[in-house]
Amino acid sequence: MNTILQMRNVSLTYHTLKNETQAVKDLSFEGYEGELLGIVGPSGCGKTTILSLMSGILSPTRGEVLIYGEKANCQSDLTGYMLQRDELLSWRTILNNVLLGLEIKKIKTPEKIEYARKLLEKYNLGDFRDFYPSQLSGGMKQRVALIRTLVLQPKLLLLDEPFSALDFQTRLNVVEDVYSILKSEGKSAVFVTHDISEAISMCDRVIVLTKRPCCVKTEIDLSPLKQYSPLKRRELPVFSGYFDSIWRSLQDTKEKENEKEITQN
């Protein structure tokens, strides 16, 4: 498998007037082509920071982030970022929302517009092209947001808890949709979440992070589940085993933190 993402001893420190916070400390891991890589960590551990580093919105204080061997930068078209909420612009139609990225990158050619129409068509949003976001359901809007990202034809997708704003019912369905879209488009993706079961149901491999400043705690290989869809995975007997091991290592990081605090006190 080709390595497409390299995090090499990445550290990042935020500065404010009152103090400085180390969000990421000496973080190293890799991502491979065609892989859905999950990143799980306790809330507030800096997961969004990691995606911002990969997309090049933030630059690391130390170390380097390489995407297809290139240093991550926010002008590049290699990565596509999908945010927690759909963030569709209410005054634009669905099609125009999808075309936003093309407009910004000044590549809104007839072919690309046609591609956008085709994607909407393919994922059952074709009839809603001229609707406004307020007329769509939450799940549909999230699919539109994914298509807005896909239209730019990124090689690596960065998904930042893209389902957390949806209710549980919708979420199960949208996870299923997004999974099949990613697989049918043959995309590599990094998927950040605090929801363990979501990570197991979608990903090929999961990296568990420690509390802030985050670094890699464990890595769990989910390739045996590859042939199953997210909903099917939830029904498998091994599902709870995976859940358990991720949960344990998350607990571990918390307990160690607590111990540290106790000894410090």
């Binding site: 997309s55 612009l89 005054w91 910004i104």
Partner: protein, 277 residues
């Protein structure tokens, strides 16, 4: 598509819904009747009190005297000129305040350090009672329309800047993040996100501006003018002709109201067109 569906559904109302609609209709009718009723009542009462001598119509005027006064003004051909002048001053200062205010707000949004430096000045200028600037404005701008428009601008400009700027700065952080992830530059963030999402704010500011510009124009006319509704009012007061004062005030009421509704209509059309809210 959805709208067409709704229209075909219209005739099939349940009896409960029909009753509900009827009740709503009745309530709306009562509200409209009450509104008109208050106006008619006040006018009648005023007239009766004046006719019976309960109030002195020399200092309170009366509806019939106002109508007579209005007739005279129209006959003399003066009224159109006075209204025209005041309207012109108001509209000019309104457009100036809106464009300048939005422009300055954009500049302050763009350059954070300029904003931080200028903030206290704008706040102080906004807090200052602008009428205090009267003498300065007269001396600098003369005793004609430029002085009046300057006065109206002084009153409406700073509040426009502050309101519009706070709208610009209030754009959702997550939407800004979206623009950044798409690689947008500052100009694109301004034109594709900040301005369109702030259109309702800007139009709200227009509504406030209409009122502010009327205040400024009339105040300016009090100070320096030779014509206009404000001039008529102050002139009527000086020669103790309350008919003229009252008539001009009522005309002013109607004009200001009409202008406000015009802006409200624009707001409705724009937000419908852009599918805002």
């Amino acid at each position: 598509m959805k709208k067409r569906l709704r229209k075909t559904e219209l005739p099939t109302y349940s009896p409960e819904h029909a009753a509900f609609l009827k009740g709503e209709k009745k309530r709306n009718l009562i509200i409209t009747l009450s509104r008109v009723g208050i106006l008619v009542f006040v006018i009648l009462l005023w007239e009766i009190l004046a006719r019976t001598g309960a109030i002195d119509s020399f200092i309170s005027s009366s509806p019939s005297r106002m109508i007579a006064c209005f007739g005279e003004l129209v006959k003399g051909g003066e009224l159109g000129r006075h209204i025209g002048i005041t309207l012109w001053e108001t509209v000019v200062s309104f457009f100036l305040a809106t464009t300048l205010g939005t422009l300055v707000a954009i500049i302050l949004w763009w350059f954070e350090s300029v904003r931080k430096v200028l903030e206290p000045y704008i706040v102080v200028l906004n807090a200052l009672p602008k009428i205090a600037l009267g003498p300065i404005i007269i001396i600098w701008m003369g005793t004609d329309q430029p002085a009046i428009i300057t006065m109206a601008l002084a009153i409406s400009l700073f509040i426009t800047i502050l309101n519009t700027l706070s709208g610009f700065l209030g754009v959702e952080k997550s939407k800004l993040m979206l623009m950044k992830t798409l690689g947008a530059n500052k100009w694109q963030i301004l034109t594709k996100l900040v301005l369109p999402s702030n259109l309702p704010n800007i139009i709200d500011a227009l509504k406030i501006n209409v009122g502010m510009c009327w205040v400024g124009t009339i105040m300016g006319e009090y100070l320096v003018s030779h014509a206009g509704l404000g001039y008529l009012i102050i002139y009527g007061g000086q020669i103790f002709k309350l008919d003229l004062v009252m008539t001009s005030t009522v005309i002013l009421c109607i004009l200001a109201g009409l202008m406000y509704y015009a802006v409200a209509l624009v707001q409705k059309l724009v937000s419908k067109k852009l599918n805002l809210d």
